[in-house]
Symmetry: C2
Subunit: 306 residues, 2 copies
């Protein structure tokens, strides 16, 4: 058996197409403010990619670049200004920030309705609740694009990939490897809201291969190159690989290549479906950022004729 690839690049392109159509029906364009601090190469690349993706679907992006020496107060002032700017529906602060700035304070300063990264405590609390404690609106976890608060992009992208690949989650055993705030925990919550029976595996788990071996769906998000081996995966399981790790490779042009947290070649032999790295979860993150921004705009009342 050889597992089918889940093509994140194609799914993300489809979603961007859907968003473009949706944006064209809006009275005024959604706006995303992107705050970039310092001159980290990777951050600059991510910000460039995000702005470009905005352009493609018709979202206005507003860039605010600051030097490494910017003060926390300056950032907080800018965020306060953006919070009350009607043209801005999403505010994204590219992380990480320089050490002299308290990331939590910055994250909490963004108004929850504009927190398109889904990092604000209020959005996290809504994600980590069942039943009534998610505000006044009824949450339909079956359609994440309808959820009335912001869900972090990468975890949301994982579920979207599963959905669009026809993977049923209800009643299935799902194992999440990793318990980070950015991926592990939120993806575990989303899987639970979809009625999967979820187990969170982490560095202190004594029998990770055994636990993973019982999973119908595996989400790997630990940041350790090719940690998950073929022998861990149950025949027919679905494997979502969130990891992006660079490993030395003398034969590669740049001297390295990117691999996931999963031994892709090996696991593909037993999995029914698997995401490649790159080209799996990666492209979904920006697609979900765009969707959060468009949703935020729609929720603000900017639909035609209103």
């Amino acid at each position: 058996m050889s597992g089918e690839d889940i093509d994140g690049k194609a799914v993300a392109a489809t979603i961007r197409g859907e968003l473009k159509e949706r944006v064209s029906s809006l009275r005024s364009p959604p706006g995303l403010a992107v705050i970039l601090v310092g001159s980290r190469r990777d951050s600059q690349t991510y910000v460039r990619m995000k702005k470009k993706a905005c352009e493609e679907v018709g979202i206005q992006s507003f860039g605010f670049d600051y030097p490494d020496t910017v003060t926390e107060d300056e950032l907080l002032q800018k965020i306060a200004e953006l919070n009350s700017d009607d043209k801005v529906h999403g505010i994204l602060v590219q992380l990480p920030l320089p050490k002299h700035i308290n990331e939590d304070s910055i994250i909490e300063a963004v108004h929850p309705t504009k927190d398109v990264d889904g990092l604000h405590p209020r959005n996290n609390a809504a994600l980590c609740s069942t039943g009534t404690h998610v505000g006044a609106e009824k949450v339909d976890w079956a359609d994440l694009s309808s959820v009335p608060f912001h869900i972090p992009c990468t975890p949301q992208g994982c579920i979207e990939l599963l959905d669009r690949s026809g993977v049923e989650l209800k009643g299935k055993n799902a194992v999440v490897i990793g318990r980070s705030n950015l991926v592990g925990l939120p993806v575990a919550m989303l899987l639970m809201h979809r009625d999967a029976t979820v187990t969170i595996v982490h560095s202190k788990t004594t029998d990770a291969p055994g636990v993973v071996g019982r999973a119908d769906v595996v989400v790997a998000a630990v940041g350790r190159a090719e940690m998950v081996k073929k022998e861990w995966i149950k025949e027919g399981a679905v494997v979502i690989d969130v990891g992006i790790n660079s490993v030395d490779d003398a034969s590669a042009k740049r001297g390295y290549r990117l691999v996931g947290d999963v031994d892709y070649a090996g696991c593909k032999e037993v999995a029914s479906k698997i995401t490649p790295v790159p080209g799996g979860v990666g492209p979904m993150t920006i697609a979900m950022l765009l969707r959060n921004t468009v949703n935020s705009c729609v929720r603000s009342g900017a639909t035609k004729g209103e």
Copy 2:
């Protein structure tokens, strides 16, 4: 093999003793405001028990009783007043509230530092985070009494019982049955923070007995009388029963008796330790409420000589 009882009544009494000593070292007494709406018998009983427990350890309790007809605004005004009252370190709104009052709004109105029930989204978000996203203070999950925000009382009581019974959690398989905001989810988070490998079982889980059968620690919090059977429990597992269900019993004085979510007699034969119902988790809830209130007072700076 017959499992040892975990005596929640005794543990709670010990904790109340510790708190009494701690309170006596404070410059001024901790204060707990208790808001009771309507004339539900059970709510009245709980409030009476909480006030009595406060008295025992030296916490001042301030009762505010309202008729069923109270408006949301009246409650919000009272809460705002209590939020800025220096003599009040904890604010407890006895739930459930009448249908015309939005419980979420009331819960969110309580200042997070005075939210001794641990229900505010900010406290929930802190509980549902790993690493840095828990404010400025470093969280030491090994000692829950030191955690710088409020953790819900019943889940905290479960962990305290395990700790004081010498149950190691790190690397153990823990299964939580139930995913409620009040118990299931927070107790799962606490077990994860203690480095257990946690699985959440719920109504859509396809093989609950199989999943529970692999657990070293089982926490049952579903509200279904004696659902967890002897056959589900692994030999030597520790069983914490959060359920309190009344079942008809003609032989009992009142015509009913209280049982947990666990078939106590059966499970006791295979478990190494087990909580009885009543007298297990029950008494811990109020003890943890008292501890949250005392901690809140200490964090407000009310220590002697300061």
